[in-house]
């Protein structure tokens, strides 16, 4: 049992974090059946003591109790902030008051966030990036710039020679067990996978960049900011991240082909007919693989996996009571788990009265950071042959956009504004 005690995890390297076994929901979005831990660390060197991360404000007393067992405040020469989210920076203001001489090290992108935490307090800090070091005499700490895992500010700190990586939220999970080490605690594999799926998966490209920095390091121990400390086979967790960062589905389309997914739902079959015409129009362009999905018969999570790999997304909804229908919103509110930024987006739909669905979907797509270069297609009630021709052209235009085959277009701002207003 470690209650109230600092734990030496390597020679003169201590875990000084806090336990939160009763937490059942983290940050609103995550279930935490086993609670969590806020892991902070203390490294002692010839030139003084370094504290790496702190804990959630509500658990500050526990953190200070442990810290006081292994260091005096006046010994602290540096405070390293691998990640400034409040569950790791909550005790920072008080730590700074108790150790005002300590210099704060954080990533360049962390600076703005630090100001949001300390507000008007005056504090000197040193922004660092990959390769920057802190010299502790016979031992040295080196920084790795690993942004967006899972905030813009995140970084890792590596204790050379000992081969200990303080990895922030990377390799972490919500699993509180007082036995602390991965070879002692209960089975936390499900928590580890769940954490990756919800926290790291949207940032897959950044995971790969971070792995490129981490994989060459000799590793004796991984010290994440949540969950068990990984001292047994730390490399296996790095390898698992490499596997998890691979696409969940293999795209069978040839590499040079673009994929366009059309999701639709229809009350009377009119939006369905539009979807088919759009699909046929897109088919006229070479190099695009088109797939049609009726949302009425599908599960959101399977569609999310498809969307992660797709190049273009088109959503078709009727307008009912002035809005797009719920299955569309259910899907569009589930995309925070994957990266959609920069994908091509578009909307269409049949309507009876006012037809707001299309522009509401377009706004949501822009909000999700998709690009929406082709104005949505709206048709009042039953599409005529001429209107289906318009849908056909709309589909073709989307496919041309996706394959970068659009002809150069010149337009004035006034024309553009008029076009947008009449959408």
């Amino acid at each position: 049992m470690i209650t109230g005690k600092a734990v030496e995890i390597a020679a003169e390297v201590y875990w000084i974090g806090a336990l939160d076994p009763r937490l059942r929901e983290f940050d609103i979005i995550l279930k935490t059946a086993n609670g969590t831990t806020y892991n902070a660390y203390c490294v002692r060197g010839q030139h003084g003591v370094v504290v790496i991360d702190t804990v959630k404000a509500s658990h500050a007393d526990e953190f200070f109790t442990r810290l006081e067992q292994v260091a005096h405040y006046e010994e602290i020469q540096a405070i390293i902030l691998n990640h400034l989210e409040p569950d790791h920076s909550g005790a920072l203001p008080e730590l700074i008051r108790r150790a005002p001489q300590a210099r704060v090290y954080l990533s360049h992108r962390g600076q703005m966030m630090l100001k949001g935490i300390i507000k008007d307090e005056v504090l000197e800090y040193i922004p660092v990036g990959t390769g920057d070091t802190i010299d502790l005499g016979e031992r040295q700490l080196r920084f790795l710039h690993t942004p967006f895992l899972h905030w813009p500010d995140t970084q890792c700190t590596y204790l050379e020679k000992e081969g200990i990586l303080f990895s922030g939220d990377i390799f972490g999970c919500h699993f509180c067990d007082t036995r602390l080490f991965n070879d002692k605690v209960g089975d936390f594999r499900a928590a580890f996978e769940y954490y990756y799926a919800h926290i790291m998966r949207p940032f897959r490209e950044h995971v790969l960049e971070a792995l490129a920095l981490i994989e060459p390091l000799p590793l004796n121990l991984l010290a994440p900011a949540h969950g068990p400390i990984l001292r047994d086979s730390p490399d296996s967790y790095v390898q698992r991240y490499r596997q998890l960062a691979a696409p969940l589905l293999t795209n069978e389309a040839a590499k040079q082909e673009k994929t366009l997914l059309i999701f639709y739902i229809s009350a009377y079959g009119n939006t369905t007919r539009m979807a088919q015409a759009i699909s046929e129009g897109a088919e006229t362009v070479k190099g695009v693989r088109i797939s049609l999905y009726d949302l009425q018969g599908g599960e959101v999570s399977a569609f999310v996996d498809l969307i992660e790999e797709a190049d273009g997304l088109v959503f078709g909804s009727p307008t009912i009571n002035g809005d797009a229908v719920k299955p569309i919103w259910d899907l569009l509110s589930s995309l925070a788990l994957v990266k959609v930024r920069g994908k091509l987006g578009a909307a269409f739909g049949s309507y009876g009265w006012s037809g707001e669905a299309v522009s509401l979907i377009e706004d949501r797509l822009r909000g999700l950071k998709l690009r929406v270069p082709v104005k949505g297609s709206k048709i009042k009630l039953i599409p005529t042959d001429t209107e289906l021709e318009q849908c056909h052209r709309f589909g073709r235009e989307l496919a041309l956009q996706l394959t970068g085959q659009t002809e150069q277009r010149f337009i004035t701002l006034d024309e553009l504004v008029r076009e947008t207003n009449h959408a």
Binding site: H108, R341, G342, R366, T406, Q408, R409, L416
Partner: protein
């Protein structure tokens, strides 16, 4: 009023705009791939690359300058929510 031509390279569209227009006022309307977060020059989401015509944009404000530094942006980068066109030809693309 002086005009400027802004070309969004990723979608191959050129928009003629009055001097003083901000990129954010145009890029979303034409559906260019530059995407936005805070829209206030703080988060850096709308970082864009100026392919040509950097001198045809107004100098960055202190706020933008600071954010560009913190993002470790290159000298061809600007924030689309802040950058204002002065005239002439400007070619941009995302990030």
């Amino acid at each position: 009023m002086p005009k400027a031509n802004v070309t969004f390279e990723d979608i191959n569209v050129t928009v003629t705009v009055p001097a003083g227009t901000r990129l954010i006022e145009i890029s979303e309307k034409v559906g260019a791939g530059i995407t936005y977060g805070c829209r206030e020059g703080e988060c850096g989401t709308c970082l864009m690359r100026i392919v040509a015509g950097m001198a045809n944009l107004a100098e960055p404000s202190m706020l933008e300058d600071k954010v560009l530094k913190e993002l470790m942006a290159g000298r061809h980068n600007r924030l689309a929510c802040q950058a204002q066109v002065l005239g002439g030809e400007i070619v941009v693309r995302p990030g």
